[in-house]
């Protein structure tokens, strides 16, 4: 096991939350690696110094307080502050992004630019519903589902991006310029949101959402990133077996397309 991976598991190891295989691997590693063992001692001490609360804060409130709580909320729902306190899952997700990521404002700007570009394209009729009809009128046979086509393109671009990230190999101690990767990731995050709003089969939706998490992280990385930050992304790609899943999805799409073409012919 690599040192970095072991260190990420030390917290769960100390709490006995790992599965038996990882537990054994970490144990074996600690037995022969002094620096990771020292790191484990530090982690143990940190956990000791920062205890979880012995009883939840809510326990210090009386039962009468909790009996009144729901009524207090109901009163507030009627106070006419709807405009201020309305939220929705997409807004909360975006808010999470803005709150927790240093480059969130930049990312938001990037998304805004993409949205504007899409609106511009719409105004020129590129994505209008009669696009397929126009192609058919021009003698091009197309009965393929446009969402599936977009999904295939999304997989292709994501795969190229993730392979590129996986292959980054800077000199030791040098930072990595991720300007292009971040830009592409932002565009793909926007595309993810679009695809997520469409009717997708369960497997595609799961893959799109798993990809979204990695793309958001990538979009919010610093332009000049350290190798260890790139490694976090790579670990995510590896952990989720992302490239394999994309290739499988592409293969499914290609098979479906071949079948469709055979029927048409």
């Amino acid at each position: 096991m690599m040192h970095r991976k072991v260190r990420r598991l030390l917290y769960e190891y100390g709490r006995g939350e790992l599965d038996p295989v990882d537990m054994k691997n970490v144990e074996d590693h600690l037995a022969r690696c002094n620096s990771c063992y020292a790191e484990y001692q530090i982690m143990k001490e940190a956990v000791r110094l920062i205890p979880s609360p012995a009883k939840p804060p809510s326990a210090s409130r009386s039962e009468e307080y909790w009996a009144r709580f729901a009524s207090s909320v109901e009163v507030r729902t009627k106070e006419g502050v709807r405009k201020q306190l309305t939220t929705n899952p997409a807004v909360e997700s975006l808010l999470s992004l803005l709150v927790y990521r240093r480059w969130a404002v930049t990312a938001a700007t990037g998304v805004a630019v993409v949205v504007l570009a899409a609106l511009f394209a719409l105004s020129r009729g590129v994505f209008q519903p009669d696009y397929a009809e126009e192609l058919a009128g021009a003698g091009v046979v197309t009965t393929a589902d446009p969402v599936r086509m977009e999904l295939a393109e999304y997989y292709r671009k994501s795969k190229i991006l993730l392979v590129g990230i996986s292959n980054i190999n800077p000199e030791l101690g040098q930072s990595v310029d991720l300007a292009v990767e971040r830009q592409v990731a932002r565009q793909l995050v926007y595309q993810t949101r679009y695809l997520d709003s469409k009717q997708l089969d369960e497997r595609s939706r799961a893959l799109v959402r798993a990809l979204e998490r990695i793309l958001i992280e990538l979009a919010n990385m610093e332009q000049q990133a350290d190798l260890k930050d790139v490694d976090i992304i790579r670990a995510g790609i590896h952990q989720e077996n992302m490239l394999f899943k994309i290739r499988m999805a592409e293969s499914d799409y290609a098979t479906a397309e071949n079948n469709r073409m055979s029927v048409e012919n």
Partner: protein, 184 residues
């Protein structure tokens, strides 16, 4: 309560049922309160934020998709609302003393600082962490959410949660040690 029951309650709230909303509030109120308190360390603020969270849920539940986790959604709202409140509080009153300043005062024997107890040290160290690390430490270590739950609430990978937890706890340990050494 079963997932089916919770799903039915959400559907009923979407249809406008006040009773179902009350039941949903009662189901989640303590956990939401505990989580808000974890960020704010103040009962009045925790109460206000917890109520605000449910008001947001009430007004926005029609946008909630049933295929997503309701708990994850509500805890994400709680984390975001709490951090907003921390920011507002920082602007309205300088309640927290920065670590460097606290160490400086501790060395000078300032009686105000001498009275600070362990939990205040922890709170101060916690607020020295970058936002994502702080949120991970609170959710995973102090509130006991699983790595998977934290990754869902904060919208990041499980690997990122583990890395930030490791770094956050190490940094807090160092900050607590610095403070203890100077004070002794």
């Amino acid at each position: 309560m079963s997932a089916d029951r919770e799903r039915q309650l959400i559907l009923d709230v979407k249809e406008g049922s006040h009773e179902a909303f009350r039941e949903l509030v009662e189901l989640h109120m303590r956990r939401v309160y505990d989580l808000a308190y974890g960020f704010l360390n103040d009962h009045d603020d925790a109460e206000d934020v917890a109520q605000e969270v449910f008001v947001k849920v009430y007004h926005s539940i029609n946008a909630f998709r049933l295929d997503s986790g309701f708990s994850t959604w509500i805890y994400r709202i709680t984390a975001n609302t709490s951090l907003d409140r921390v920011k507002q509080r920082g602007r309205s009153r300088a309640r927290l003393i920065p670590m460097e300043q606290a160490v400086y005062h501790a060395g000078s024997g300032d009686p105000n600082i001498e009275n600070i107890d362990t939990s205040a040290h922890i709170e101060r160290a916690l607020h020295e962490l970058p936002t994502l690390q702080r949120a991970v430490v609170i959710l995973r270590h102090m509130e006991g959410f699983s790595t998977r739950q934290v990754s869902g609430i904060l919208r990041c990978s499980e690997g990122t949660v583990k890395t930030h937890l490791h770094r956050g706890l190490k940094k807090m340990r160092r900050l607590l040690h610095n403070l203890a050494e100077v004070r002794s």
